[in-house]
């Protein structure tokens, strides 16, 4: 007779690292009190990139839904913020409402897009993004093709405006990270990753495919909408061809691929790396983009599990308790 087995989600080291990460996240709220405003603005940019990376990873890394059209929600979130401020909603409340509206847009699009598989899904999401960009460009009230500024924030002193935007962005980032964590912690976490690996095999084990895909799709829509609205709050001006641009999908793909697709920590690492590369090399224009592509290809060929795998393979414990470990009971 063998021992009884029990499932453990975390050990002592994992609990300590989890608490440290949460404490670090909360401590980041103090940044505006100790750093220059340009640092605060840059950290806001980093947070929006991180949100996008985490959301794309939720879709592609966990759900196997490779989207090249998440810019639809980024643009929709930004333009919904413009629309709401034009209707006398205060700017920061508009950002929150725009994020929720992006989630609603995802709910509406899900029945259409989730019917598609693989390449069809990727192309379908891109088509939706392009269609939305065209609709916005045709609407003169939203600035047409020339772009539009966010009103309502110019009455706030620049230092405080940047701090408020940063706090809201950090709040959204932590919220999204917490939602993804909870998703993976729950029983649905393993089911979601099973769908990614093999949809038919997952269904043959009792996993409900469509409700889980729907949940991921809507969460990613909400998160990308929030990222778009906060990008607008950070830059104060948008144009349809840039905010609905496919480059956002390329950036998300880069961050997730380089960081480590299908891992919790990978996209965070990827977003930081991408932010630094953008900061150091963006002035090189086309060569910078070529360099990004080359790096992504190199990672896909030589380190397909991303940068995080280098640390993960060496750590004797998981940083966050999102996996399972069997231990003999007693």
């Amino acid at each position: 007779m063998t021992d009884q087995w029990t499932v453990r989600r975390s050990g002592r080291a994992t609990k300590i690292s989890s608490v440290a990460m949460v404490a670090f996240g909360i401590a980041l709220f103090a940044v505006p009190f100790g750093f220059r405003t340009d640092v605060v603005q840059q950290l806001t940019t980093l947070c929006t990139l991180l949100m996008m990376a985490v959301m794309w990873n939720v879709l592609a890394g966990y759900g196997g839904l490779v989207s090249v059209g998440q810019q639809a929600y980024i643009g929709f979130g930004a333009y919904a913020t413009i629309f709401l401020t034009q209707h006398d909603v205060t700017a920061y409340l508009a950002v929150v409402l725009a994020a929720l509206a992006s989630g609603v847009l995802a709910v509406a699009l899900a029945p259409l897009l989730l019917r598609l598989r693989g390449g069809q899904f990727a192309v379908g999401t891109w088509v939706v993004a392009e269609a939305l960009a065209l609709l916005v460009a045709l609407d003169e009230d939203l600035g047409g093709g020339t772009g539009v500024s966010l009103r309502g924030l110019n009455t706030i002193a620049p230092d405080w405006r940047r701090a408020y935007t940063y706090w809201l962005t950090l709040g959204f980032t932590l919220l999204l990270l917490a939602l993804v964590f909870l998703l993976l912690r729950r029983r649905s976490g393993a089911a979601i990753q099973a769908i990614r690996d093999d949809e038919e095999a997952a269904a043959s084990l009792g996993v409900r495919i469509m409700p889980l895909k729907f949940m991921l799709f809507v969460l990613a829509g909400f998160g990308c909408g929030a990222a778009g609205a906060l990008t607008l709050a950070n830059t104060l001006f948008i144009q349809p061809q840039s905010i609905f641009g496919v480059q956002w999908s390329a950036y998300m793909l880069f961050m997730v691929l380089v960081g480590g697709i299908g891992t919790y920590e990978g996209p965070i690492l990827g977003a930081i790396l991408f932010f630094l590369l953008q900061d150091w090399f963006a002035q090189y224009g086309a060569w910078y983009l070529i360099g990004l592509g080359a790096v992504a290809i190199a990672f896909a060929l030589f380190l397909p599990r991303g940068l995080w795998s280098l640390a993960d393979d060496r750590l004797p414990f998981r940083l966050l308790p999102v996996g399972y470990t069997l231990r003999p009971a007693g």
């Binding site: 063998t2 990753q193 690996d197 095999a201 009792g206 399972y324």
Partner: protein, 238 residues
């Protein structure tokens, strides 16, 4: 008691009709082997019962109710588990994670992590290993153990020994003893006729989508099997 009833079932792959008017029943606790040449319709029939392939005609009833329109995940909740061809483990999951995915909404029953690891002791030292790093035999054992975690009454196993070394086949067929002892009803698709006939109590041979033979394995002659398998009488040596 008849657990599964397949009545005049038809299934297609586009214009190709893979299963043509197949009718048979399976009683509780029975081990049934589906045999036949490549393209005979065995896998399609098994997938149709599992809900992984659409039914184009006929009816399938399980435990007294029809399965028409019931999606695969609901069939699992009713007690039908499916081990697909090629094992289809989740490669990025460890053995234990593969088992836990199946156990997350399992029916109540005798199978849980402890009993499964007890029944498959070879998996105990491998529980932390990624599924992609297992040998073929270990993968098949994990796939069967994973299906058992759903506490099935009817277990469908496709291509039990395909692509496995003789030693791995031995290991996998040791699992069949566990299944027989647990009283689980099993339909297995097997290319190895010797194995199929020695394991199952009954055999159905498909030929071009139709049943060419449905008989108890006990007393079945080699000639009868060969005739059904190839669709012609073997010439006897003079």
């Amino acid at each position: 008691m008849t657990l599964l009833r397949v009545e005049n079932v038809e299934a297609r792959h586009g214009l190709l009709q893979a299963v043509r008017g197949v009718t048979f029943g399976v009683t509780e606790g029975e081990i049934l082997a589906l045999i036949g040449a490549n393209g005979a319709g065995k896998t399609t029939l098994l997938r149709t019962v599992a809900g992984a392939h659409p039914l184009s005609g006929g009816l399938i009833s399980y435990d007294g109710s029809y399965l028409t329109g019931v999606p695969a995940h609901r069939r699992v909740r009713r007690g039908i588990a499916y081990v697909p061809e090629g094992r289809r483990l989740f490669p990025e999951f460890t053995v234990e994670e593969n088992l836990l995915v199946a156990g997350r909404r399992a029916r109540s029953g005798r199978w849980n992590l402890t009993t499964v690891l007890e029944a498959f002791p070879a998996l105990q030292p491998l529980r932390g290993r990624l599924a992609s790093r297992l040998s073929g035999g270990q993968q098949q054992a994990t796939a069967i153990a994973r299906a058992l975690m759903t506490n099935p009454r009817l277990l469908l196993i496709d291509e039990v020994s395909l692509g496995l070394s003789p030693k791995a086949v031995e290991e996998v067929y040791a699992c069949m003893t566990v299944l027989r002892e647990s009283g689980t009803t099993v339909i297995l698709v097997e290319q190895d006729l010797g194995r199929a006939l020695s394991t199952a109590g009954r055999v159905i041979c498909l030929l071009e989508g139709r049943i060419a033979l449905d008989a108890k394995t006990e007393g079945l002659t080699r000639d009868e099997v060969v005739t059904a398998y190839f669709g012609f009488h073997q010439a006897r040596p003079a």
